[in-house]
């Protein structure tokens, strides 16, 4: 008798991710995996995106955190369906966690799914969830050396949002050098400068997002 052995955790994760992607596609839901350091602005970006797309695009949100439901409560006030995943101690979401969340999400009622990953620049880059696009939020106060320190995350991102651009006058940050470093790792990536505090650049981000959605659906 042949014994089947699952190749490895990442291999098993890929299979579940593929299933998630098919489920999303069959429901015409476009899913974005939002990743960043703790406090770089994932939740603020989701709130800004909901505000801009209110009445235009039906959004659902999945919140990933080691602990607490703070972000989900904040998102819930916006009147969109939201599910909180608490990973317990895991430092990233995986496809299986997303699969559980999807079975609780009213997929027929949404067009865009924003998935907030756990705040961490390392492990989330290794685990695909079944999303259509990976978006990295990198904020000015974190410093401009991050592409060199966390290359995989920058390599995997389809778009990088440089957030908290309103703090530029108070901090040393070379946006030109930063963008150049990112392009060195990932030539195809889209880069946006944004501020969730002042709404600067949010329109460009949302416009890119809608373009990606319509390309997928056509």
């Amino acid at each position: 008798m042949k014994i089947k052995v699952l190749k490895d955790i990442l291999g098993a994760n890929e299979q579940i991710a593929e299933r998630n992607r098919r489920l999303l596609d069959s429901n015409n839901v476009f899913a974005v995996n939002l990743m960043s350091s703790p406090g770089a602005g994932k939740t603020s970006l989701i709130l800004e995106t909901i505000k801009r797309l209110k009445g235009k695009t039906k959004i659902g949100v999945i919140e990933g955190d080691v602990s607490s439901t703070l972000d989900a409560e904040m998102i819930g006030k916006e009147g969109v369906p939201v599910i909180q995943i608490n990973t317990g101690g895991e430092c990233h979401l995986d496809a299986n966690m997303l699969s559980s969340a999807l079975s609780n999400m009213p997929l027929k009622d949404i067009e865009l799914l924003l998935i907030e990953n756990v705040g961490n620049l390392i492990c989330p880059a290794e685990f695909t969830l079944g999303e259509h696009k990976k978006v990295l939020i990198s904020s000015i106060p974190e410093g401009d050396d991050k592409p060199f320190k966390y290359p995989l995350m920058f390599h995997k991102a389809d778009a990088v949002l440089i957030n908290k651009i309103d703090l530029l006058p108070y901090l040393k940050f070379d946006t030109g050098g930063f963008s150049q470093a990112i392009k060195g790792i990932n030539a195809e990536v889209e880069i946006f400068q944004i501020s969730c505090a002042t709404s600067q650049g949010i329109e460009q981000w949302v416009s890119w997002l809608l373009t990606q959605m319509s390309r997928r659906q056509s």
Copy 2:
């Protein structure tokens, strides 16, 4: 024949950490494990600490990063012994990595060892290295909700440094509520408000550090 099985990774890590601690103690070296999110100011704090203690305390530094030697190069310019650990993809240092670094560090020539862990608020909290104190740097731009989202890290810290306090005028951050939340998780913790940009609070931090060192040695 009895087969010995290592209980688990954390159990094995504890044993190596204990060996590291004995090695440090036998050399009269006091070791501090510095943890934080990416870009919260670990390297800046090390640089400020070296500056304050120049000519008073002999310092060695171990730099932990997934990738790059940027921080070690910066520290090296200060004329202190420094070793870079690149974890490859691991999201935290472990006792075994510290053990390798210690065997390359001139322990006889130093009194204080500052260990910069990988930028991550989750996994580093789970892996003791053999250090005498764990210090968490949490920065204002990250937001004041972090104790609820990363409770283990705040629970394990002997001291929390609230860094980038100079940015308070430009951000929403409730320092009172933040400190209260930390104390709720960890009543014994020391909390300092600092700015590595303006040097505010660095003297209090260094004074606390020296007190801990002298207590350990007496």
